[in-house]
Symmetry: C2
Subunit: 277 residues, 2 copies
């Protein structure tokens, strides 16, 4: 690995919210140059990791017995879409699913909030990405009081149990909070308003959430504190430098896939018996 | 309630496997006349309860905020289908779903075993019936070693957590084990072979399970012992008398629905403002 690129394990160490330990969002940076001092190194890292991730994903697909689930959460403009495009730039859509969780449909509202989430869990052999996730049910739902407070309170444990079930059944989970400041979001939103090719991304509703920034940050903090578990830890990714954000998530994903170490399955010992004329 | 028909609470008391207490299947009857000494009383009971269940289901549907899930498990010929037909003889299919869990499809096998189960949970306002269920994954899967033993061992806790999640999110669960003896099954299978209109129900594969009767009973015992919980208890229903079996399940379902006590929702206070000309 290039000398200005941190080891995957080092990135994990730096960004993880340690399960069971106190967590304060204010201790975390939204902008950080320690891990990738040089921006060009970061760009080279994410490109190299993307190739490696593609290779590992091919093996995961061939193996066909386990799945990887990447959960991305962040305020509007934090860069969920950009991260996906960059980190998986070399990965074939064959073997990948991306599920963007929007406002629940009537069908979805008629079930428990994990119903649509469970349904979208990647199949064995796949990498699945959640662009937003079950955590919306303790974030926007909490801030806007869309469910009774005592129900929301129970969801942290319910989500932990659900994720533990998944990990015990062959789904490895990485959860990344893409962390930016309110000021940075302001700049990015203004950019969306001003640049014609970005206008389609502007949603007036985002401004409502922006008005409740502090409430959202409090909800994020509680989410990380209560749902960073040994089986599915949260990583808080400083996301104001897009290149470094991509490099950090790329390194996390690569590291987890390398630890999973998927193998081409044994084709059996009878291949020599086949004759292809 | 007629004097020869036991109260719902009394039937619950008699049939429940008390959470946290030791459970032995051999202590339970497959045939029992204590609760309904007279067969005609049992037949009258299930007919009356069916009407009451229909009425309660209408209210559950109108209320639209909670669901009832009835889980039926039992060896082949124990009477899952017959119970459904009888207990819900007066209930409209509108507002009901019955999911029969068969051998998992390739799509289902590619996910965790609860994936298809969660997907089939009844929507709010509905009564859902599982004809077989998540428990197949600790019954036939265990007896036939279709999954590694250490994975199956984890499933009891996983199922308990899953059911707790459902009950915390508005789904009331009743679980009935329809209990018959191996001798009774023998008679019923011979009946299926002999009577032309019953032959379609005969499946040679059932005989394999019959050969493993003791292993199945051990698996059922462990299932009840470990998964009868305060939020989702197991009831062991003596099922050799079909009429009494139906009456007992009808009484359990009626009792739970009465406890749920669903209400027509408040239409709001502005109805008087509408003018229909």
């Amino acid at each position: 690995m290039a000398k200005n690129q941190p080891e995957c394990a080092h990135v994990q160490e730096a960004l993880i919210a340690r399960p069971g330990e106190a967590f304060a969002l204010q201790d975390r940076p939204t902008r950080d140059k320690d891990l990738f001092p040089d921006k060009d190194d970061a760009a080279a890292s994410v490109a190299a990791d993307a190739v490696k991730i593609d290779e590992l994903q091919d093996r995961l697909y061939a193996e066909g017995s386990r799945a990887l689930l990447l959960v991305l959460q962040g305020m509007d403009t934090a860069g969920k879409s950009g991260t996906i495009k960059s980190v998986f730039q070399a990965t074939s859509p064959l073997g990948m699913t991306v599920k963007a969780f929007k406002k629940p449909s009537a069908e979805e509202m008629a079930r428990d909030y994990l119903w649509r989430v469970h349904n979208a869990v990647p199949r064995k052999g796949f990498i699945g990405i959640f662009d937003r996730s079950q955590y919306e049910d303790v974030l926007v739902v909490k801030v806007r009081s869309l469910a009774p407070a005592e129900e929301i309170e129970k969801r942290y444990d319910q989500i932990n149990a659900f994720e533990e079930h998944l990990t015990q059944n062959g789904v490895t989970i990485i959860k990344c909070m893409l962390y930016i400041s309110r000021e940075e979001q302001g700049e990015r939103l203004r950019d969306r308003l001003e640049k014609p090719h970005k206008r389609w991304k502007f949603n007036p509703g985002d401004l409502d959430d922006r008005q409740n920034w502090d409430d959202f940050m409090a909800a994020y903090e509680t989410m990380v504190q209560r749902c960073s578990t040994p089986h599915a830890p949260w990583y808080v990714v400083p996301s104001e430098s897009k290149t470094r954000r991509n490099a950090l998530v790329g390194r996390l994903v690569r590291g987890v896939l390398e630890d999973m170490n998927p193998q081409h399955p044994d084709p059996g010992h009878r291949l020599s018996e086949f004759v292809i004329d």
